[in-house]
């Protein structure tokens, strides 16, 4: 059960990672990108249309992570503690904190992308999107390291 949930969690995270990265680069690089380049094409996505998917994927990923955390706390973390992987546990703690803060930002993020005020400056939504992208990347990398550390790190 835990393995199946972890695989689904990983797949949802991959989709979320792709969507938020596209949107973040599009939000930052609206001007000045050469449209013919790879980066230009990568950034030339309809950013607002990603917002609903990102909210759904972030919420689903956090929910799955919250369920898997029960197994992690009982079966995995004691092993990491016994192996003195304190840095990994510290990074994982930060993943939990960042994920919670990001979850609470989703309503504001959604409003900025899907219900913007007329003539609203884009700085706030760019900042929120960048923060969520940082949180998603941090969670993805930290989760992978915690998942694999007893293999490649031991």
């Amino acid at each position: 059960m835990a393995t199946a949930l972890l695989i689904v969690h990983g797949l949802v995270a991959v989709a979320l990672l792709g969507a938020i990265t596209h949107q973040t680069l599009a939000a930052w690089g609206a001007a000045g990108a050469r449209p013919a380049s790879f980066l230009g094409r990568f950034r030339s996505v309809p950013s607002a249309s990603f917002a609903n998917a990102i909210v759904f994927l972030y919420a689903a990923s956090t929910l799955l992570g919250g369920i898997i955390y029960l197994y992690f706390r009982v079966d995995v973390r004691p092993e990491l503690e016994r192996a003195s992987h304190w840095h990994v546990l510290g990074f994982f703690e930060l993943k939990e904190h960042f994920a919670a803060i990001g979850l609470a930002l989703l309503p504001a993020y959604w409003v900025c992308w899907r219900r913007p005020l007329a003539n609203e400056p884009t700085q706030i939504r760019t900042a929120l999107t960048s923060m969520l992208a940082f949180i998603v990347w941090w969670g993805f990398l930290t989760g992978h390291v915690a998942n694999n550390i007893m293999g490649f790190g031991s």
């Binding site: 197994y71 510290g90 930060l94 803060i101 609470a104 309503p107 504001a108």
Partner: protein, 121 residues
């Protein structure tokens, strides 16, 4: 496309307040619930192991506080968000908008500070 003003105020106040309250809950250990997954029980409030004679008991019944910190912050933020949503437009000069990413960013830095002990072990 226009914004629903009360929901907009709610969402900005909720995100900002949650970030502050989460750090407070983390720093002051204010978990609304404590989960013991190996025992399958949930207790109200923060419960730390007081078994000083045998600290290894913590391995037998590991506790999860993250759900509790999150619940504490979410409930507080919900109250503040609902209050912000109910305030008539123009009755306050305070503006949440810029704070919605500055305060969470500062909260994330505070979380890093509070997590530093892990890196000194």
């Amino acid at each position: 496309m226009t914004s629903s003003a009360p929901f907009r105020r709610f969402s900005f106040a909720f995100g900002t307040t949650f970030a502050v309250l989460y750090v407070v809950a983390l720093a002051k250990d204010l978990a609304l619930i404590t989960v013991f997954p190996s025992l399958g029980i949930i207790l109200a409030g923060t419960h730390r192991s007081r078994d000083v004679a045998d600290p290894a008991m913590g391995f037998l019944a590991p506790a999860i506080y993250w759900y509790g910190w999150t619940t504490t912050a979410a409930l507080g933020a919900l109250v503040v968000g609902l209050v912000a949503a109910s305030i008539p437009k123009g009755s306050t000069r305070y503006n949440w908008e810029g704070m919605v990413w500055i305060i969470p960013a500062l909260s994330m830095i505070a979380c890093v500070y509070l997590t530093l002990p892990w890196f000194r072990l």
